[in-house]
């Protein structure tokens, strides 16, 4: 009861997933159910039949206001494996410049009877906005909004961690790099804390760590060697090139020297620590190729798990709508 009293737009009256916009407001039980459902889909590639009929006859729309081939492709693949029909819309920013508002775009596509929108947008809060205005019976999945959230990426990272570590509770996890601009980091921190890890650390220079980072439930480190000590999981964040322009960093070279991950630095972590990166990676900036291609790296597995996690979230949302007609 207390769980749903704050009126989370993502959940229906029974606490089931209607939209997947953010990790915020979702409890451990629900996150675990997403991981368990993903587990059942992840087994698929080994079997002869790669498709399940869960979403046969449903129309799913990729609504991307920000280009991202990788994320869009994994969502598309996930939808197809669930037997759904997929529409792709790359809405250039010029559409809004022509006077069409985001709501106009939404109404136009709704007229095509799509039951799910996968939304990526450069502004924080865009997925919430679309969910609030979408027709009843339409699910919205956030594929990244501004600096706010990227919950499917976070869940595929949780899936990867669970596959390698099993239990979340004893883990210490370090997130390294540009936390300030990272929607992935925000979602990861929420997911890790909800799943009950021992400690989440963020590591980076003051310019890339939000001023109120501690309120997210993390310990802040500015020294990589110190921050990596005894951690079980190291998550490296992508560094955007434009960060040099905003006077946030002096150079890539200095960044790599201070925060780039090398095998030597990885020695500080636990011997069985795994290394993750949400991609796309800048070799020689965030980490050495030696680490990226080394035995601790689980980066490629993250990519393949992404499809299973997205299948899980999509099927759960559609099922909620099927069982509770609006």
């Amino acid at each position: 009861m207390a769980r749903h009293e704050h009126n989370n737009i993502q959940l229906d009256a029974e606490g089931r997933l209607r939209h997947f916009l953010s990790i915020e407001g979702l409890d451990r039980e629900l996150l675990t159910r997403i991981l368990d459902t993903a587990e059942s889909f992840a087994a698929l590639p080994g079997r002869p039949v790669k498709k399940v009929p869960a979403l046969r006859g449903r129309v799913i729309t990729n609504l991307f206001f920000e280009t991202s081939t990788r994320t869009r492709t994994t969502f598309e693949l996930a939808a197809k494996r669930l037997s759904a029909d997929v529409l792709n819309f790359n809405v250039s920013t010029s559409a809004t410049a022509k006077g069409e508002t985001l709501l106009d775009t939404l109404r136009n596509i709704e007229a095509m009877h799509s039951e799910m929108f996968i939304v990526r947008h450069s502004q924080s809060g865009a997925a919430h906005f679309i969910a609030r205005h979408a027709a009843p019976g339409v699910s919205v999945i956030n594929a990244g909004d501004g600096r706010h959230a990227h919950p499917t990426q976070a869940m595929l990272d949780m899936f990867t961690i669970r596959r390698h570590k099993g239990d979340f509770t004893p883990l210490r996890v370090a997130i390294v790099g540009d936390v300030l601009h990272s929607r992935v980091a925000r979602s990861q921190i929420l997911a890790l804390n909800t799943l009950g890890v021992t400690e989440v650390r963020v590591i980076g220079p003051h310019t890339l760590i939000p001023t109120e980072a501690r309120t997210l439930g993390v310990h802040v480190y500015h020294d990589l060697d110190e921050g990596l000590r005894e951690v079980d999981v190291v998550i490296m964040l992508r560094l955007q090139k434009e960060r040099m322009d905003g006077a946030l960093l002096p150079s890539e070279e200095e960044y790599f020297r201070l925060y780039g991950l090398t095998n030597e630095r990885l020695e500080r972590a636990r011997p069985d620590a795994i290394v993750m990166h949400p991609g796309p990676m800048n070799r020689g900036v965030e980490m050495d190729s030696e680490v990226a291609d080394g035995p601790r790296s689980v980066i490629l597995q993250q990519v393949s798990y992404g499809i299973a996690v997205r299948m899980a979230v999509m099927s759960m949302c559609i099922q909620t709508h099927a069982e509770s007609p609006a």
Partner: protein, 425 residues
């Protein structure tokens, strides 16, 4: 028309009045307070039993969007909202289209408002031409046309030399300069207070330092130039601290605060509520409390609506892309009275902050009851409650975060220049 307002509790902070007194109006003027003049025959008697009769409210910062496209509002719609809010003197901001940087625009606004006869509309003229922050406006001509102050609207001057010259030139004519202290570089495209909530929601932040840095700079220039500087819409505790210090060293500076800043905080932008997207942004509880304290002790003598009506489309977008601002005329009194309910300051002081307080800042004769003075009156019922509803708003802009809030003291009558311009049904 002769009107008597009887049986009410008359509160007139400027004259230290708070007692049961009748008010008698002849034509546009107050002719007696207390007993009616001999032989006075009212055509209408307003029974204000159980109600409070106070001077019509004075709001020193409202954007009326007129001249303009009309999409966000115009003088007709916004003075209707003012009348419903008990406001009889409005000082409009220069961010119209075209900008208030020529006497012609001032005359146009005054003419339109005079024709409507719903509330007094005064103007703040642009400090720089086109509000561009480059060339000084024709201040003497604007003053002669009736401008009561100068301001650069929501576009703080980026160039300190232009600011220095603007303050110096304005001081030549003894004009008050209203500044919105904000450092544009530190604002850096932010849309919410750089604090815990913006961190969690991933909203680009505006640090409190964007304001405090500008306050420090503006205070230094005020001291250097001797200009009469007024800070509009303070939002940060650090700004209040600097203001207090400056005033104690007898610098001629003043400030106002927007009514919503005294009630909302960064917590209210949870769920990306675009109606809580304002500029300056809603800050922390500590900032809100510092602003409340400054209003209570008179460091900030004026509460304004910072009225900024918007059409629906302007607020229907992802939070960072929405237009900042609240349509605030119809909640100015309500939010001020709520401070009394919450024990921030006594009723008489609260009324002073929205009547004589703001009037005195600009040297206006309004905001008080004087025999022989203009009959601008607001009557409200402290015993009644009302629920704010967006749908009932008279303003063209329905962008209020207070929809559904329960308030006390609905305005029952508003009189402007001796004429009843609003009556609650």
């Amino acid at each position: 028309m002769n009107i008597s307002i009887v049986n009410g509790r008359l509160i007139d902070p400027a004259n230290d009045r708070d007692e049961p007194l009748d008010l008698h109006i002849y034509g546009q003027q107050i002719v007696a307070i207390g007993e009616p003049p001999e032989g006075f025959e009212p055509h209408e008697t307003i029974d204000a039993a159980g109600k409070i009769v106070c001077p019509g409210l004075v709001d020193i910062s409202a954007s009326l969007r007129d001249p303009g496209s009309g999409v966000k509002g115009d003088i007709d719609s916004e003075t209707r909202a003012a009348a419903r809010g008990g406001i009889t003197t409005l000082v409009c901001t220069p961010d119209t289209d075209p900008v208030i940087d020529t006497p012609a625009v001032i005359e146009l606004i005054h003419r339109t408002a005079r024709k409507l006869r719903r509330t007094r509309v005064l103007t703040t003229a642009a400090l720089t031409q086109g509000l561009k922050g480059e060339q000084l406006s024709n201040m003497a001509a604007l003053q002669a046309a009736g401008a009561v102050a100068l301001s650069n609207g929501s576009w703080p001057l980026a160039n300190t030399l232009v600011e220095r010259r603007a303050l110096e030139y304005a001081s030549t004519f003894g004009m008050t300069v209203m500044l919105r202290p904000e450092d544009q570089h530190l604002r850096a495209g932010g849309c919410a207070h750089e604090g815990a909530v913006a961190t969690r929601l991933g909203l680009p932040g505006i640090p409190a330092a964007a304001e405090t840095v500008a306050v420090a700079r503006d205070l230094a220039l005020a001291e250097h130039t001797g200009a009469r500087v007024h800070f509009h819409a303070l939002s940060a505790a650090g700004s209040v601290r600097q203001l207090r210090e400056a005033r104690s060293s007898r610098l001629d500076v003043s400030a106002d605060v927007a009514a919503h800043q005294l009630h909302l905080t960064e917590m209210d932008i949870e769920d990306f509520d675009a109606n809580c997207h304002v500029s300056p942004p809603l800050r922390t509880l500590a900032d809100r409390d510092a602003l409340r304290q400054a209003v209570a002790d008179g460091t900030i003598p004026a509460i304004c609506s910072d009225h900024q009506p918007h059409e629906q489309d302007a607020k229907e977008a992802p939070f960072p892309e929405t237009a900042p601002g609240i349509s605030g005329l119809e909640t100015l009194l309500a939010l001020t009275l709520r401070l009394v309910d919450e024990g921030v300051l006594p009723l008489r002081e609260a009324i002073a902050r929205i009547t004589c307080g703001p009037a005195d800042l600009l040297g206006l004769p309004q905001g008080r009851f004087e025999v022989g003075g203009g009959a601008d009156v607001c009557i409200f019922d402290p015993q009644a409650d009302w629920t704010m509803s967006r749908d009932a708003m008279q303003s063209e802009g329905h962008n209020s975060p207070f929809d559904g809030w329960d308030f006390s003291g609905p305005v029952t009558h508003t009189l402007f220049n001796g004429r009843l311009v609003y009556r609650r049904d």
